[in-house]
């Protein structure tokens, strides 16, 4: 039954969100919904990053009271892999940046053609 243990579940959720996000981008006609589904995908990826760093039975990589420090105790043995969590921070910031810019675009697109349907913005073609 280890299939349903914590690490795997979060992986599945992450992949699920990514697929959901992709589906949203490809199917929704409204730009805001596209941006929303993009953020869903973004969070899916972030969950994936974090869940990959999970080590069963280890605690968060913050050296505080929950982790015994001591001469012979190596902290690494007790904590989960810290690098993915560092990476996820940057990924979230970048995700945030992109979404902000997308929303700014959505605003300008709306101002341009008073509509948010993606199909109306295909003037540069062929």
């Amino acid at each position: 039954m280890e299939f349903f243990e914590l690490g795997k579940i979060s992986l599945l959720i992450g992949f699920g969100l990514i697929v959901l996000g992709f589906w949203g981008i490809l199917s929704q006609k409204n730009i805001i919904k596209i941006i929303l589904s993009f953020t869903i995908m973004e969070t899916g990826v972030n969950i994936l990053i974090v869940s990959l760093g999970y080590v069963k039975g280890k605690t968060a990589p913050i050296i505080d009271s929950a982790v015994e420090q001591g001469a012979n105790h190596s902290v690494l043995g007790q904590v989960v892999d810290p690098v993915p969590q560092a990476l996820v921070l940057t990924a979230i910031v970048i995700g945030f940046g992109t979404t902000a810019l997308l929303l700014a675009y959505a605003m300008k697109l709306f101002k341009a053609k008073r509509t948010l349907q993606i199909n109306n913005f295909n003037d540069l073609k062929w």
């Binding site: 995908m41 697109l109 540069l124 073609k125």
Partner: protein, 1043 residues
């Protein structure tokens, strides 16, 4: 050496400073940005110079004080230095170009621009894969940001699609990275490579994710709608930087990531590159808008670079040389062109006629187009050459044909665009002005193009042998274009004279003949140039370019030098032809046929170069592998220049529409370059150990049919110059057929015809050109009765047609007599008879020429037209003296020729006893026949003149007109539709079968392009779907579905 980290530090520092300092002056902010970019380019320039002069080795930069697995490290190797230097330099020039634009948008535009450049630098230098992802995202956000803050909503849609697409790609990359970390435990690329990820379970899928996003960044063909829209939509100055920057950065990123994956990936990348290169250029053919054409062209060039990346395994040592050569040309030319579009602001390519208002811009556009298509002296020419040579060494002819087809398609639409710019009517209201800050970057780029072109040439050993002096002479003439005509003309003639004086001693007899035809012929036709008034802008540099090319061909020792001369000649002659008034479509077809021919030569040379260290010209003598293919392609290439049947449709238009003194240059001289080529090939075939009889036999038939098609076409022409152009096709058919006989007599005939054709075709074209200048029209039925006004022109054309038709006293008969003997001795009876019948047809169109133009009724508006200009008469009568001497004493020329040919074909030569020539089956004397005919002629003339002393001179209407008086000269002059009866008998042969064939092909290309480009529907979502589908398809292709 300044530590490269300062590049990033400076950029970030100034970016934050501008942000923090608040409302400092925009100029100050702009100045500060430019200063930082200058500093960044200085750093990378310092490193690049270090590497170039060899005293520096590549060094790693460690951040945050830790070793790689724990921290990001950057590398400043030779490639990185070079690429960052390019990006920064472009950034600097872009900054200058966009200074006013950014100033208008505000300070943060400068900041974003700075961040963008920093992003490119880091993507090139970083060795950490996550860092790569971060800075990739930064560049895409910066690009989208710059597009967003532009006024107007032209590019908003494109920006949105761009941002969405790049975000999806980078999230795929992120997934790949995180799994790579999960498997290998490190983010450093070098370590990932060592951990040979690809052998682990599930490793290939990770590699697939990473590489596919790297590839998608390079906008591969089906999934690059979003990239095209940005290039087209964004402000030109800016889209230039994006196109150049992303190209360099993402290409290098892919190069860094490739070692991770298994070797097949290079094959897949090469495949994708090929698809993009051909696909983008195919679609470019159908485009009408200037920016969109440029967008397709840059995507196409990206495809080519991917192709090189994919095939780098086969390039051995000069992978850098090829890659950087083409990259540099693409970047410089593409950016320059984008900025040029920014200045000219014409939307449709047809409207580009307005560029003619500033000839300097037209020159710039010409430079960029010729650089992109890969003409000498630009770097892409040498790189493409080396690339094709190395591929051929490994027998990869499939890839070579891909390159050739792609570059041909690119040449199609770029040349057409240039044709519109030079020739379409300029009746557009809107105008443009040149700001100084926009033009200076472009000038710098052009200068760089030439300089780098020269250095790339020096880089290779064969390239170094190319003699660049003639090209310098052309440049001198270009800058002296403001001088009056007679100054430039004298300089040009002196230049050629001196060149001839220095080079002719070293040449053997064979090359000497062609040298005389090219240079002395050139001087003679240039003398006719004195007739023109004013400055005649742009004629002399271009004419000298052609002659420089011709000289280079003669002088060539190596195949590269020959190909270099060949391309120069094509460029020069293209510019010459396009000067004619209605010559745009013909110049375009001429260029495309010549390019087709040039690429055939390239392919042939590549086959010849297999396994050869030093590609000297005599490797053509015994091509080891696939000789039939090699010689066939060589012949095909040269036959486009001699306009043999099937490849002849460009000649009538090109020579017909050219200017009066250009048509003789192009017709009498240029076609001989093709003949020289055919000659070299045939010498090669002669010495080759393989049996190439069938190839010579086919060449014979091609020559014979060309004679028939050329002469028959000429009979029914209404336009005098078109008639002479068709006659040139016919005469060239003679020459090709004669050389194809491959016997002593055959070659002697070929040479006689080459010399003869040069002389009488130059005479005919010069005279008719001068007459056209006087009369103002090409149509023969509008001229007539000019013998009374232009007796000297009449005598010249009379001698010309007697010589051309082969009537005994003159030199044409020498050719015909040798022809008879050669054909009977060789045994090619039926081709021979077809040629003799076409000789009869020659007589028809020659009579038509002289009757409609000089005899018959003098039209009203030509009553007091003056004799043709004195400057035309000099070369004409010099050539006529030449013809007469050659007719009277043929042995003066034929004997030395005989000895020359003897060392190729020793047996059954032409035996000379004094002035009597004997072959195995016939005898003839030139001087004897000339004397007896002259005596008979003068005798009868004397007799008749005596008995008709007091003849009364009549005027034009004193003719027997069945009792009536003729009312108008137009109604009594027989000129229009002159051989109506003969047409009714032979019309099936005059149907334009070849034209319809070529038209069908061009329509086919246009239809497919029109059909395929439908996939770019402009809808953002559709583009995203393309990306996803592309990923799925590539997934199945590359990993075949195994996880």
């Amino acid at each position: 050496m300044v530590d490269p980290i300062y590049i990033i530090a400076a950029a970030l520092g100034v970016g934050f400073a501008i942000g923090i300092l608040g409302n400092i002056g925009r100029n100050f902010a702009g100045g500060l940005t430019l200063a930082t970019i200058a500093f960044m380019s200085f750093v990378s320039a310092q490193w690049f110079a270090g590497f170039y002069f060899g005293n520096v080795s590549s060094s790693y930069i460690f951040t945050a004080g830790f070793q790689p697995p724990l921290s990001i490290n950057l590398l400043m190797g030779a490639e990185e230095a070079f690429l960052t230097f390019i990006v920064n330099l472009l950034g600097l020039l872009g900054g200058i170009y966009l200074f006013v634009n950014f100033k208008r948008k505000g300070r943060n535009a400068f900041v974003i621009y700075l961040v963008l450049l920093m992003g490119f630098n880091v993507v090139i230098m970083t060795r950490d894969i996550f860092n790569l992802f971060v800075f990739l995202e930064i560049t895409s956000i910066a690009t989208a940001g710059l597009i967003l803050i532009e006024k107007g909503n032209r590019a908003v849609g494109a920006g949105f699609k761009y941002l969405l697409a790049t975000s999806i790609i980078s999230s795929m990359l992120l997934i790949g990275i995180i799994f790579a970390y999960f498997y290998t435990g490190t983010l450093n690329i070098d370590m990932i490579i060592e951990s040979n990820l690809r052998y682990m379970v599930g490793g290939p899928i990770i590699i697939f994710l990473i590489l596919i996003s790297a590839i998608l960044e390079l906008k591969p063909f089906p999934a690059n709608g979003w990239g095209l829209d940005v290039y087209e939509g964004a402000h030109q100055g800016f889209s230039a930087i994006v196109s150049a920057g992303t190209a360099t950065a993402s290409l290098y990123m892919l190069y860094k990531l490739l070692p991770i994956a298994s070797p097949e990936w290079s094959y897949y990348i090469a495949l994708l590159g090929a698809v993009t290169f051909i696909g983008a250029n195919l679609l470019g053919v159908k485009q009408r808008f200037a920016r969109r054409v440029l967008a397709y062209s840059s995507v196409g060039q990206l495809g080519l670079l991917m192709l090189i990346l994919g095939l780098r395994g086969f390039l051995g040592p000069n992978v850098n040389y090829v890659f950087f050569g083409i990259l540099i040309t693409n970047i410089l030319a593409k950016t320059g062109f984008f900025w040029l579009v920014g200045i000219v602001k014409a939307n449709e390519i047809k409207e580009w006629a307005i560029i003619r208002r500033k000839p300097f811009l037209l020159f710039l556009m010409g430079v960029f187009i010729f650089a992109l298509v890969g003409f000498p002296p630009f770097p892409s020419f040498f790189s493409k050459w080396t690339f094709v040579m190395d591929l051929a060494n490994h027998g990869l002819f499939g890839w070579i044909s891909v390159i050739i087809i792609g570059s041909f398609l690119e040449a199609v639409y770029l040349m057409r665009w240039f044709g519109y710019a030079v020739k379409s009517e300029d009746d557009y209201k809107f105008d443009f002005k040149i700001q100084i800050h926009k033009i200076t970057p472009i000038i710098i780029l052009t200068a760089l193009l030439f300089v780098i072109g020269y250095f790339t040439a020096q880089f290779t050993e064969t390239g170094a042998m190319i003699n660049f002096i003639p090209l310098l002479f052309v440049a001198v003439l270009y800058f002296a274009d403001a001088l009056p005509i007679w100054v430039k003309n004298t300089i040009a003639i002196l230049g050629m004279g001196i060149y001839f004086y220095f080079t002719y001693p070293q040449l053997d007899n064979l090359r000497l003949i062609f040298e005389v035809i090219f240079i002395i012929g050139g001087i003679l036709t240039l003398i006719a140039g004195y007739n023109y008034k004013g400055k005649r802008q742009g004629f002399y540099p271009v004419a000298l370019l052609m002659f420089a090319g011709l000289a280079a061909i003669i002088e060539a020792q190596t195949t590269l030098e020959f190909f270099y001369g060949w391309e120069l000649m094509t460029a020069g002659s293209y510019f010459l032809i396009i000067r004619g008034k209605k010559s745009m479509p013909h110049a375009l077809s001429y260029m495309l046929f010549s390019l087709g021919g040039a690429y055939a030569l390239l392919m042939a040379f590549s086959i010849a170069n297999i396994g050869v260290v030093f590609p000297s010209l005599d490797i053509l003598n015994n091509i080891a592998n696939y000789p039939v293919w090699a010689y066939g392609l060589l012949l095909a290439g040269f036959l486009t220049k001699t306009a043999s049947v099937g490849l002849h449709i460009w000649l009538p238009g090109a020579h017909g529409e050219a200017e009066s003194d250009v048509s003789p240059m192009v017709s009498a001289i240029l076609l001989k370059a093709g003949v020289f080529g055919v000659l070299l090939t045939l010498i090669g075939m002669g010495q080759s150990t393989y049996d190439l009889g069938t190839l010579a036999y086919i060449l014979g038939w091609v020559g014979a049919i060309t004679v028939f098609v050329g002469n028959l076409g000429a009979v029914f022409q209404e336009d005098a110059k078109r008639l002479l152009a068709y006659s040139s096709i016919g005469q060239l058919g003679y020459i090709v057929f004669a050389f194809a006989i491959m016997t002593h007599l055959g070659w002697l005939t070929g040479f006689t015809y080459t010399i003869n054709h040069f002389m009488y075709k130059a005479v005919l074209f010069l005279t008719i050109g001068a007459v056209v200048l006087r009369v103002g029209t090409h149509n023969m039925y509008e001229m007539g009765g000019l013998i009374k006004r232009m007796p000297l022109a009449f005598i010249a054309v009379l001698i010309g047609i007697i010589a051309l038709s082969g009537v005994p006293p003159l030199s044409g008969f020498t050719g015909k007599w040798l022809f008879y003997n050669a054909v009977i001795e060789k045994g090619w009876y039926f081709q021979g008879v077809l040629v003799f019948f076409s000789g009869g047809l020659a007589f028809l169109y020659l009579y038509r020429l002289i009757q409609t133009v000089f005899l018959g009724q003098l039209k009203d508006n030509l009553r007091n037209v003056k004799e043709i200009s004195f400057w035309f008469l000099i070369p004409i009568y010099v050539l006529i003296i030449g013809l007469m001497v050659f007719a009277a004493m043929p042995q003066l020329v034929l004997q030395p020729l005989g000895t020359l040919i003897a060392n190729y074909f020793p047996n059954n030569q032409l035996v000379w006893e004094g002035s009597y020539a004997y072959t195995a089956i016939g005898h003839w004397t030139g001087t004897g026949v000339m004397i007896s005919i002259m005596v008979m002629f003068l005798g009868t003339l004397l007799l008749v003149k005596l008995s008709t002393r007091k003849a009364h001179k009549l005027k034009q209407f004193d003719i027997v007109f069945s009792g009536e008086r003729p009312h108008r000269p137009e109604t009594t002059h027989v000129a229009h539709n002159m051989y109506a009866g003969f047409y009714k008998a032979v019309w099936p042969f005059t149907l334009p079968a070849v034209e319809t064939f070529w038209n069908w092909i061009s329509d086919f290309i246009h239809e497919t392009a029109g059909f395929v480009r439908r996939i770019y529907s402009g809808n953002g979502q559709a583009y995203m779907l393309h990306i996803v589908l592309f990923i799925i398809i590539m997934f199945f292709i590359t990993i075949g579905g195994t996880i």
